[in-house]
Symmetry: C2
Subunit: 404 residues, 2 copies
């Protein structure tokens, strides 16, 4: 057996998953949170059942202490990391800028570069660097690999990633569309080819990753050619708490008329926007429940969500010159027949036809939800970002440490 530990680190928490690479199955997973607070918390799942779960409340002073808590949980509750033959640690990093276009084995210099990219990802990269430093100190004998959310979008043409603003300023402050959720868009668009048993190179696919964060991606023969998130994860679709697209002049207006400062405006769009702003709740399940119960405010919020999503489907249909596949993934995409039906309603003229029975059927598996007559195949495919990070980590160390 050989296993990869996948780590997704924020500034006060990290999640982990241990994956058996021979079978590509999860061996264990967990979470360490409230790092730096008076009382921290950890949860470890040594296996798939509730009985396998153990939790602790204790002060966790920093990420290094957090990894000690994790290592103790492995040794106490299993699986034993030595038995699991841990061969590498894969780290999720949100922003790779235009420096990291591939999964990259982490050195001190790579750490510094990821840290430097905090300038354009102040909410994400600092936490990733803290996690990487602590994990490398805790597991000094295995290679660590950084896998970037932006990397899959390296193939965007300049026409798609360039904003129409002063070019010197854009270069100096690294302003361009980077796109995010790349690990998921890559995993899912490749899974489409496998699922349909068709060559990836032949497929034009629109991936709709709809979770708390949400983004659409136009994938042409396995290459991302456009995506809805921008320089940051704010642009694009309506999300749980993010506004997505808005007239940028709204910011100037609210600055001048409402006297709001940058922190307040950032908060308004990034943390108090989206479904939270429109329906009073950022959790799609709750919004749908309210709408089903007859709440017109929740229904109106859903209509905004659908409208935005439908526009991006059309946009990417045009950018691809027609689509073979539209695929839904992530929490909302995998679980909400209401969102899937609502966002593709009225697109029969584009050869997009959902089968209501297939759409409503509950399943955890990859599946077709379009009619047999639908020109465009509509799929639901569960994403697995951790597995994709583990795969890329393994591929990277196989390249850089061919002796392994």
């Amino acid at each position: 057996m050989s296993a990869v530990l996948v780590v997704n680190s924020g500034s006060s928490s990290f999640k982990y998953q241990l994956i058996d690479m021979d079978t590509e199955t999860e061996l264990a997973s967990g979470l360490v949170e409230r790092i730096g607070e008076p009382v921290g918390h950890s949860r470890h799942n040594a296996g798939p059942t509730k009985a396998d779960r153990s939790e602790r409340d204790l002060p966790i002073v920093d990420h290094t202490a957090g990894f000690a808590v994790m290592i103790e949980a492995f040794s106490q509750h299993g699986p034993q990391l030595s038995d699991a033959s841990l061969i590498a640690v894969g780290h999720r990093v949100v922003q790779g800028g235009n420096r990291f276009f591939e999964p990259t084995e982490i050195t001190h210099l790579v750490e510094l570069n990821i840290e430097d990219l905090s300038e354009i990802a102040p909410l994400h990269n600092p936490g990733a660097v803290q996690g990487i430093r602590a994990a490398r100190a805790s597991f000094p004998n295995v290679p660590h690999v950084a896998v970037f959310d932006t990397a899959f979008h390296q193939t965007l043409p300049p026409a798609a990633y360039t904003y129409a603003i002063d070019k010197d300023l854009a270069t100096r402050y690294r302003v361009r569309k980077y796109g995010f959720h790349g690990t998921s868009h890559k995993f899912v668009s490749e899974a489409v080819a496998t699922f349909l048993d068709r060559p990836l190179a032949d497929l034009k696919t629109i991936v709709l990753h709809l979770g708390n964060g949400a983004s659409a991606c136009a994938v042409d023969g396995g290459r991302s050619i456009d995506t809805s998130m921008g320089m940051t994860p704010l642009q694009g679709l309506v999300m749980g708490t993010r506004s997505g697209d808005i007239d940028p002049a709204v910011i100037f207006h609210l600055r001048r008329r409402a006297g709001m400062n940058t922190a307040e405006l950032d908060d308004l769009l990034n943390r108090r926007g989206g479904m939270l702003a429109l329906a009073g709740n950022g959790d799609m399940r709750d919004v749908e429940d309210a709408s089903i119960a007859g709440d017109p405010v929740a229904q109106a919020a859903l209509d905004v969500y659908f409208h935005r999503l439908k526009g991006y489907v059309g946009s990417y249909y045009a950018q691809l010159g027609g689509a073979d596949v539209i695929v839904f993934t992530a929490g909302v995409g995998e679980n909400s027949p209401i969102v899937r039906a609502g966002s593709l309603a009225g697109l029969e003229g584009m050869g997009i036809e959902i089968d209501p029975v297939r759409n409503e059927a509950k399943s955890r598996k990859s599946r077709v939800i379009s009619t047999d007559a639908s020109k465009v195949t509509v799929l639901v495919i569960p994403t697995n970002e951790e597995l994709e990070i583990a795969r890329q980590t393994l591929a990277t160390i196989n390249r850089t440490h061919p002796s392994n």
Copy 2:
């Protein structure tokens, strides 16, 4: 004969056109500019030839003085306003908010309401009010009518006009998508029905108004259901000097990292953006000439312009559930085969097929530029906002002054 004077007023200038409503032809036109500067300027075209043109340089202290200059030009160079039987003055007003959904005869109260809407259109409405006041003082015996750029978009559904931000704040500060260029979108979408001799109610049309400012509009049976400009004319397409869509977080980033203030950021996106930023020139003719001469920077700028436009075509194709017509209008749309071909390239799979010979043919007339086989009919139709304002002005006074 009965004539309508159409006035388009800014804070330091106004344009005018006198239109014979029996024949719907222009009788005269002109421009008064640099109002309030040490030396102002006026130009009057008493007819269609160069010999009919007269110009003056003189101090013009305010809009009222400007109208005096105009009236003098009419009386000196003709046509005589009395002979022309001036029956009304129509004023272009950019922002009608959600107060003015129709052309409206101007009273003191209407003036105050237009002035109040300056809060959301600080660059446009104050100049319009100045022009209206001066014109009413200069022509006190005819009715004046305000025609709003936003009015045609009154039919947008909430799903299209709602931004996903705090609802109370949005209501209080009147933040929503209004859309602009409505007079042109209305004129052109109705002209499509006439040109094709088909009922307006049956047509799904995407109007691409591409001038210095640019916007796209999805028109379903004569009703605007989506449009690319937003609360202000900044959102949407790449324009001459405006960025159009951008990740709103770019503003926060540049505020924090580059220390730019609101005025500088507004300037960056509204006056130093668009083709000016990307190609060093906001005039599309010059950008095209540079690209034809082999300048890769100009070509790259065009590619960004095309990409954005193509995305909106796809988006509105989806919002309409398929389109019957795509129509190009305004300076760029009417005159640039390069832009028309570039923005619709690769859309054959959507039934959109431009005929290169028809597209390249020079003409000032409404014309088809798609192939006979193209499922979607692609047209070029010259816009005429002044005529549309005159028509709406006439229709309004016929309703309110039926004795006329």
